[in-house]
């Protein structure tokens, strides 16, 4: 990619991020009848696709980590995470379009968040953050479950029609994203650590930069 294209593309990405955020907030605070459902779905798809694109493009535009397999791994995790969000939207029926938006807006938000993680990825730092994030998510979930009860029920309860709470959807989707990143982040992190330990034992030099 030539530098002349990169700069406007970066700007474009950030404009899309801002637009998506505003769009999600405006929609989430509007009362929409079920007749309008089709354009809600169009907007939802736009939000999803554009944020996925932005989330994938931003780290590449800034750091050109395209050759780094870990960057792709994280992006893959993001894609699976987004898939989960979509699944959730289809699967938990609701007459409140605001809830759909509330679930989609965080998808774009998460995308940018993960992009930032990738951006900060100096070698394994991105995966490290991902792994810690995931491990603590699971641990916290188990902890809350043991102490306060079934978390999923808390969510189901809050997502009932009438119990309108966009914030909850926002947090739920964040949690789903984190959960989806678990296996990917863990595999990468553990694999990387094993490689370092093996090098340490055999006194091998790290790979030299090309």
């Amino acid at each position: 990619m030539s530098p002349r294209i990169i700069r406007p593309m970066r700007w474009l990405c950030w404009v899309i991020v801002v637009l998506n955020t505003i769009l999600a907030f405006v929609l989430a605070n509007r009362s929409v009848t079920s007749a309008d459902l089709w354009w809600i779905i169009v907007l939802a798809l736009w939000l999803l696709v554009s944020s996925m694109g932005v989330g994938g493009l931003l780290p590449i535009l800034y750091w050109r980590y395209t050759t780094d397999w870990r960057a792709w791994l994280i992006l893959l995790a993001v894609l699976v995470g987004s898939g989960m969000v979509v699944y959730q939207i289809i699967d938990v029926p609701s007459s409140e379009p605001a809830q759909i938006i509330a679930l989609l807006y965080p998808a774009s938000f998460c995308m940018v968040g993960t992009a930032i993680i990738v951006l900060s990825m100096r070698r394994d730092v991105g995966l490290l953050i991902g792994a810690v994030f995931s491990v603590v998510t699971i641990w916290l979930l188990v902890m809350i479950w043991l102490r306060y009860g079934n978390v999923f029920e808390l969510f189901l309860q809050a997502m009932q029609p009438g119990a309108h709470n966009p914030w909850l959807g926002w947090l739920l989707s964040l949690y789903l994203q984190a959960c989806c990143a678990v296996p990917f982040a863990l595999i990468g992190f553990v694999g990387w650590t094993i490689r370092i330990i093996r090098r340490e034992i055999h006194r091998q030099m790290p790979l030299t930069p090309h």
């Binding site: 007459s95 999923f152 029920e153 340490e200 006194r203 790290p206 030299t208 930069p209």
Partner: protein, 648 residues
Amino acid sequence: MSADAPSQPDGPKPHINIFALPQQTTILSIMIVLVIFGVLLSISAGTSPVELWPVLVIIAILSVRGLVAKPEHDFHQYQLVPAGETFAPLQQRIHELCEEIQLTPVPQLLIAQKATSIATSGSLRRWYIFAGEAYATWMLENLQHPQRKMQVHAILLHELHHFQHGDNIRIGYVYALLRASYRVMLWALLFLMGWITLLIIVADTFLTLSPADLVADVEATIAAHGILGIDLPSDLLIAEADLQEMQQQIARTDYRLVLLYAITNTLGVFLVGLVLIALIWRKLLRIREYYADARVAHIQKTIQPLMFAHLSQQRSQDNDQSAIVSLQWLTHAQRRVWEQVPKPVCRLFVSQPAFKDRFARLRGPATIYDSGPRLALFIGIYGALLWFLLANTSLYHISDWPLHFLILTTYILISLGLIVQHVQGRHVRHEHLTITAITLLPHTILLGSVLCVLWVGLLFAPAMLADFLDAAIAVTARYAGIEQQGLSAAAAQSFVIEASIINLLQIPVMFGIIALAIWGQSQVTRRVLTWYSFPQAEHRLMRVITASIALMALVLALGVLPLVASIILPSQGDNMYSPLFWASVGGACVLGLAGGLWFRQQDQRYAQQCPCCKTPVPDTYAAGNTCPTCHCVLHPWLLVQYDTEGTR
């Protein structure tokens, strides 16, 4: 010329051998590691509404991993590549120097594409020395030069001694630990805030939850919309009785206090990490350089080549702002920001000491150690800040903890720091009173302001104060909102009065105990330094001194402090009736007595007696003292000779 012949009158001036004294780098590293793990243990032990022990495990694993992955980190950060055939003579010279100083394995020479000066990188088993290409070329060219050869040797020896001193492991671990702890804690803080806020939002709705209704609701919606549905697995649902118990527990729990608990504990560790970085980390980085420099001077018997090498390095750094290279903990992006910062501000964060500081430390090695008052202020701030961050998130701490913590830390650190003064023969006559006063000053100021705030609250807003104390008690008492009983205004009043009296009473008591302990230890240290004929003194004498400090600390911790605490603190008064209390006091007495007897026996045998002619030497020790009869140097191992003239 070796260290055991310092009596030659025309030889270079003898200096204190800092390697015979307790190593400052070790003390500072232990201070950091102990504090971080101490804090993590204290927040993860016992019952709490949020299990924080996984954070301890994560930080422990990540810190070790960070240490092992240091080469990976540096290879990426400085773009290191193996030095090719061109630099083979340089690698060969490193090999020879390693054999000379008996260092294995031999560090490998690398060329840094993103650094200009020379530095080390290493984990437990992989050791590297890396230099910028221009720098390595300069060394290579001067390897055969008759005069500048010594400069190259000085530089290489300096780097090799970083490995010899274990800097890569000790300081490398501290670095990895600081990084891991502040990152994980900042993350945990944000994460827990999010999750517990969620709990606050949903707690009320959860109270009215009925599983049967829920299933019916969801099924009805599915049917109404005709969308592909889900079957709720029935094992997801809990039995009615369990549910009721759970709901009762939720009703009793104040999630705002759970949130407060999580925030104070994770934020506390994060702040402790910042305090340690600000107070100790930079000091540690500078001091390790002084030690490596000192070792080069000991080997080369002159500081001239090393100083010339440092001087030329500093000049080149002044030209191109690359002093920032030494900011090892910054990423490239962060460093780019730093490069915009004005140079004087930059200097504050640079870990490499300036040329004139290195020069001064080589001329007077004792200046590596802080002087009495400076040491006292440093330790005072360290102790007070930690006390404030750990105990005073609550104010409820009127027990013995601050008393023990401050006295023991202060006593051990001050006593270790003062050894160098005794070796120099400085009479720390009344200085121990000044030192103790300075040490307690930060603590007293902090305590005073905390109590002032409490009294202002008591006088102007008693109801708010009661609420505040309630929260504080909940946070420390680890009940964090579970089964909470409110504190009445009258109880708050009596609490403030009691806390004021007891905390203020502790100050003079602490002053007395610390001053007495430091004074006593000073007497012991000075006396031990006169055991001239003690066998193998060069290896064993410092151990005797450090062991006496440890023994005194043990006696304080087991005997004196519990006794004093149970006399002045009402909350500890009941201890008097427990057999464990008296067993520990008795144990302290036995330990102290045994130590004292051994000391007397050794003292009668070896004190004030010249090892060469066995005649008595009446004076106390001062570095460079000689026997009045045979003029043999006493404790020659405490001195080392090298030339500091001819530079500048």
